[in-house]
């Protein structure tokens, strides 16, 4: 239960800053929904359906990625390099696995709150999407994956500026290319192959399929699960090496 202590600390801080966090999670989805739902969406149809219903699962995938990565990555990087509070955990008798699990779960809570905010807004904008247990499972998996990626980035990147460079070169391209706002089907084959290898693509595909009342996609689920395990293990290793 050591992970719970790490998680408990994060929840104390979240409770204290919840209104600020909640407000910040409203801003970008609201802009996306206005721009892509009302603005662009009114004149666009995808596979005969409304663009709003197409884009909402993509925005949820994107938002869970950004929220969990940014929160876990930036706070841990600051804790390691600037506040030095990471040392308190490194000299405590808890395992790197418990530490990473606590941090990633805290990122999941924030990611899920962000996803719920978007769902609420999407329904207010008139989106018609189906939400079930599979939908939330993939949101949870996406949060875990990118929270763990945040741990890896935070532990190996030795300057705050490089954390934002990492976001610019890794997170931002995924935000736009991985099936969030448009289907990659019409892109050149080589680019489509690269996009299909990236994890966010499979989160978008899966959420979109379930939201439209379609099948669950076992391959996408497996890809997300493998990525999650790889990044989680890499995160544990990176924390282990910091000792």
């Amino acid at each position: 239960m050591d992970f719970y202590t790490v998680f408990w600390r994060e929840m104390l801080v979240l409770k204290r800053t919840f209104i600020k966090f909640f407000a910040s999670r409203l801003a970008s989805p609201l802009l996306y929904l206005v721009a892509f739902g009302w603005g662009l969406g009114r004149s666009v149809q995808v596979d005969g359906g409304r663009y709003l219903d197409f884009v909402v699962p993509g925005i949820i995938a994107l938002s869970t990625m950004v929220t969990s990565f940014n929160y876990v990555g930036n706070s841990l990087n600051m804790s390691r390099l600037y506040h030095k509070t990471l040392e308190e955990f490194l000299i405590a008798p808890i395992s790197p696995f418990s530490f990473v699990l606590g941090k990633v779960l805290a990122g999941c809570v924030r990611g899920i709150v962000g996803a719920l905010v978007i769902l609420g807004l999407a329904f207010l904008f008139g989106a018609k999407i189906l939400v079930n247990g599979w939908f939330f499972l993939v949101i949870l998996l996406t949060c875990t994956l990118f929270g763990a990626m945040g741990v890896v980035a935070a532990m190996i990147i030795d300057a705050h500026e490089d954390m934002s460079n990492f976001s610019t070169f890794v997170i931002l391209p995924m935000s736009f290319l991985c099936g969030t706002f448009f289907s990659p089907d019409r892109l050149p084959e080589a680019l489509k192959f690269i996009i299909d290898v990236l994890p966010l693509t499979h989160a978008s595909y899966f959420l979109r399929s379930v939201a439209a009342g379609g099948d669950v996609l076992p391959f996408s689920l497996a890809v997300l699960a493998v990525y999650t395990m790889v990044f989680f293990a890499a995160g544990v290793l990176a924390v282990q090496r910091a000792r």
Binding site: T5, W8, I91, P93, R243
Partner: protein, 279 residues
């Protein structure tokens, strides 16, 4: 008890600490004295498992530092040189977090937090965020946090650096009271007065090596009881004498202004290295 055998840390071609041998007895306050970059903090970071040694061994109460991590973590408390409190948490929550990390039970944690906040005179500020504390209050809270899980060995890395003289003395009182309870204390400092006032024994480090070791009295005895400082064209000159009479006789023959005073540990450092501790 701390035992260090041939402890070494290299960063590339730079030797931060070289072949350090040292034994610190149970209940002793031991001071590592030396200028910035002497290897004091690196030594503490190796002993507290934050830096992996390049060679040698270290034992805390018989447990090897690099092998028996979980036992060593229970035995030691650490107050680092830099302020690393969780500024988003209150004083109480900082101590509570530490207690939880060390698997203390709820009632034990609550009782210990009350005791320690009283001990460091912060009981009235328990619910305030640590970010609102002054430098001295933060340092006292860090000491309380390090003591939370009843460690038997305490590491204090430059515990009073940047603090005003009054707060510094408060911290010294805390250290003496902790040691009164039988705790072993290893502190690093570059304040001569701090080492002389607090430490049973002092090790002087320079460029990663221990260049002198003994009680403050023994070390000062090596250079002489009295020192004559004189400033001439070549800079400040130091001459050491066994007694005041010889020092006065020597000073009487000098044309420039002189200061005659008792020798201190800085003089030991100057005599051994030709440099000042802060220089």
């Amino acid at each position: 008890m701390i035992e260090i055998q041939q402890l070494t840390k290299r960063y590339g071609s730079i030797n931060a600490v070289t072949d350090l041998d040292l034994t610190i007895g149970r209940g002793e306050i031991f001071g590592l004295l030396g200028p910035n970059g002497a290897g004091k903090t690196t030594t503490v970071r190796m002993l507290t498992m934050l830096v992996r040694p390049s060679g040698g061994k270290a034992f805390i109460n018989g447990h090897e530092v690099t092998r028996d991590l979980s036992r060593v973590k229970k035995e030691i408390g650490v107050v680092p040189q830099h302020m690393n409190l969780d500024l988003e948490l209150t004083a109480w929550e900082n101590l509570d977090l530490h207690g939880r990390l060390h698997k203390m039970s709820g009632p034990d944690r609550r009782q210990r937090i009350r005791e320690l906040l009283d001990f460091v005179e912060l009981a009235g500020r328990a619910g305030d965020p640590a970010g609102r504390f002054s430098g001295g209050m933060k340092r006292r809270l860090m000491i309380a946090r390090a003591l939370m899980h009843y460690p038997s060995v305490l590491f204090l890395d430059e515990p009073t650096v940047g603090l005003d003289p009054q707060t510094r003395r408060k911290i010294w009182d805390l250290i003496r009271r902790m040691n009164g309870g039988g705790m072993t204390v290893l502190l690093t400092t570059h304040y001569i007065e701090e080492a002389e006032m607090l430490c049973h024994r002092v090790g002087i480090m320079d460029r990663g090596r221990m260049i002198a070791l003994g009680t403050p009295g023994e070390l000062k005895g090596r250079v002489g009881e009295v020192v004559v400082e004189s400033l001439n064209g070549a800079g400040t000159q130091y001459r050491f004498f066994a007694g005041r009479d010889q020092a006065l006789e020597y000073a009487g023959g000098l044309a420039e202004n002189v200061v005659i005073r008792e020798a201190n540990l800085e003089d030991v450092f100057i005599e051994m290295t030709g440099r000042k501790v802060g220089g």
